[in-house]
């Protein structure tokens, strides 16, 4: 399970809130570096092609095309991918994160353009200050340079200082970068269906009956721990079944004859789930055994 602090409830227009995880700063940095690497490789290819074509800068169309290509790569790499791939770039895809509208509405092209234009201030200016301050601001007094450097540096670190990890571009565009929901499906519904079915229709063991008082000992948390236990497939599960079954028997004071751990636990799971779901319908959510 992911950490609570990164969970955000997004309400799409249909009105059913969905849980999203705000992406980690590390993942976003990795995604950005990967995208930047691709851009640099593209710059390099354009430059190499231009040199190999043997055209000079002041003749023919080669220079014009090279300028345009570099401009397009630099300014429209992110915009192009994020509109085409529904909020993802190659780097974001690798890092399994994506851009979404912070309010849950559709991600509009305007927002994508705006959030990426802000990279001018967030990335390129600090970079220029770092690499070649004199071309960027000739004859600036040293203190002005430091002040400006501090300012842009603070902008760069902005995502570290807010809960939603928004960089300036996200603030201006009203977007949020979240973890792309897992693409791998939980195994349960696929291969293990027959077993689940058994799980839920279990009263095939009539010898296990529980009174309401016995069932009311536990709550939802314990039910789901039990669910996890029953779904285990490792070789040690039998031992765990026996131990847990014994614990439950002691706790609820069950006296139903010989204890066969696995059938007992399955029967107890179904009975408990039925009881808790029934109470839930009446508006009582019993969170755990202390509730």
């Amino acid at each position: 399970m992911a950490e609570r602090s990164r969970q955000r409830l997004i309400t799409p227009p249909e009105g059913v809130p969905l849980e999203m995880q705000v992406a980690r700063v590390g993942d976003r940095l990795a995604a950005f570096l990967f995208d930047a690497l691709i851009q640099f490789v593209l710059f390099f290819i354009v430059g190499l092609a231009f040199m190999l074509s043997g055209e000079s800068l002041d003749g023919g169309g080669g220079g014009a095309i090279a300028f345009l290509l570099i401009f397009l790569i630099r300014s429209f790499y992110f915009i192009g991918f994020e509109t085409r791939w529904q909020g993802r770039t190659p780097g974001k895809k690798r890092a399994k994160i994506r851009v979404m509208d912070a309010q849950g509405g559709p991600l509009r092209t305007d927002a994508i353009i705006v959030r990426n234009l802000m990279r001018e201030v967030e990335v390129w200016i600090p970079l220029a200050l770092l690499v070649a301050p004199e071309t960027f601001w000739p004859d600036a007094p040293w203190w002005a340079r430091y002040l400006f450097g501090f300012w842009t540096g603070a902008l760069l670190c902005l995502p570290l200082f807010n809960r939603d990890r928004l960089r300036p571009g996200d603030m201006v565009a009203g977007t949020l970068v979240v973890e792309a929901p897992k693409a791998v499906l939980l195994p349960d519904l696929g291969g293990q269906r027959p077993r689940t079915q058994q799980l839920a229709t279990a009263p095939a063991w009539p010898e296990f009956t529980f009174t309401d008082a016995q069932l009311d000992v536990y709550g939802i948390y314990e039910l789901q721990v039990l669910e996890d236990l029953l779904r285990r497939t490792d070789p040690h599960r039998r031992k765990a079944f026996a131990a847990v079954a014994q614990q439950i028997v002691d706790k609820i004071g069950w006296t139903g004859g010989k204890l066969r751990p696995e059938p007992f636990l399955r029967a107890f799971y179904v009975a408990l789930r039925g009881r808790l779901e029934g109470r839930m319908l009446l508006g009582e959510r019993k969170a755990d055994k202390h509730a």
Binding site: P12, E14, V16, L18, L57, D58, G61, G63, A64, I65, F67, I70, F71, S75, I79, E82, T83, R84, Q86, G87, M100, A102, G104, P106, L107, R108, T109, D110, A111, I112, V114, M118, R119, E120, V121, I125, P138, W151, M171, V172, A173, G174, P181, A183, L185, L189, T196, Q197, A200, T201, P203, A204, I220, L223, Q224, E227, V270, G274, E277, L281
Partner: protein, 333 residues
């Protein structure tokens, strides 16, 4: 007593449509929306909504955690397919230039006016100071940009570049360089707005002062008419685009400094997108300016024709930003 759990019945009844949605989502994630045919596209929102409602029901009746997690993940994945990004970059270009761009510009005349005013102040300051003492020229104009055109140059040296066509060699490269360079300056003017707007003022002022200093230098040698003929054909679209980008930057700055009734973040997001519309439209203006500066100015050296083209350009700009999209705006209420 072998009654099934209610939550299990619920799952049995609904899971066929979840699986259908899951298959569609898998294909969209791999190949985009285009990988669905028309019938499936029509079906997608239906299955998506029914799955969302199933999630909502499951949250209140089911304690089967595997099921809940499955539905959560599936709904989120489907949400991105349905709401990922709605329009393609080229999809609504017509509507953008016929309506949204000019209408958005008209909606934000105040910040744009302020940007224009600041630039005008720059022009005046540059002009007056340079006209009084030519040494000010060196303060306002970057040496590299002036390429030898400074107060030390003779009148002939100043006149020559105004009419030097460069013979048609490498004009494409020149235009391409101008377009990309100016567009990036425009983007910068917009993005700097995030720093509460102060750098936008500086940028506008500096651009204005440079222009003013150049103008003062040329008119001190009796080249006033020739100079403006050289500047204006591309100057109208280019300076106007810079002003628009500066105005867009000021929209951001205003949203940050004076958030109004909404929260600062909500207001910024709303205004930011509007400003983005203006900046996006300016790319086209910069392209026009780059072509005029790169080709027309280098090839046509007749001052009278230059003035005619400049006037025509100005008329088109005024008509476009004044009128385009008005009827549609009214039709939309």
């Amino acid at each position: 007593m072998t009654t099934e759990l209610k939550s299990f019945q619920f799952r049995k009844e609904r899971q066929a449509s979840w699986r259908e949605l899951e298959k569609m989502v898998e294909r969209i994630e791999k190949g985009g929306l285009r990988s669905l045919d028309a019938a499936e596209l029509a079906r997608l929102p239906v299955v998506y909504r029914s799955t969302l409602s199933a999630l909502s029901v499951a949250r209140s009746i089911s304690l089967d955690r595997a099921l809940l997690e499955y539905l959560e993940v599936l709904s989120a994945r489907a949400y991105f397919c349905v709401y990922g990004s709605t329009t393609s970059l080229g999809g609504s270009i017509g509507d953008f230039f016929l309506r949204r761009f000019p209408v958005t510009v008209r909606r934000h005349l105040v910040p744009i006016g302020i940007a224009a005013f600041v630039m005008l102040c720059g022009v005046l300051v540059g002009w007056v100071l340079t006209a009084r003492d030519a040494d000010w020229f060196y303060v306002f104009v970057d040496e590299g940009l002036a390429s030898g055109r400074n107060p030390a140059a003779t009148t002939e040296e100043l006149r020559e570049p105004l009419f030097d066509g460069g013979g048609g060699e490498g004009l494409g490269t020149f235009a391409s360089f101008l377009f990309t360079h100016n567009t990036r300056v425009g983007f910068l003017a917009f993005a700097l707005g995030f720093l509460a707007g102060v750098p936008v003022f500086v940028l506008m002022l500096m651009n204005g002062m440079m222009l003013g200093a150049f103008a003062a230098l040329h008119s001190s040698r009796g080249l006033t008419v020739e100079f403006w003929g050289w500047i204006l054909p591309h100057g109208f679209p280019e300076l106007w685009a810079i002003i628009l980008c500066g105005g867009a930057g000021l929209i951001l700055a205003r949203a940050i400094v004076f958030p109004g009734r909404q929260t600062r973040l909500a207001n910024l997001a709303r205004q930011g997108r509007e400003a983005g519309v203006i900046v996006t439209g300016c790319i086209a203006l910069f392209l026009v300016a780059g072509l005029v500066e790169g080709f027309f100015r280098q090839l046509v050296t007749n001052t009278a024709i230059r003035y005619v083209v400049a006037a025509a350009g100005l008329a088109i700009l005024v008509a476009y930003f004044g009128l385009a999209g008005r009827t549609r705006e009214a039709a939309r209420g």
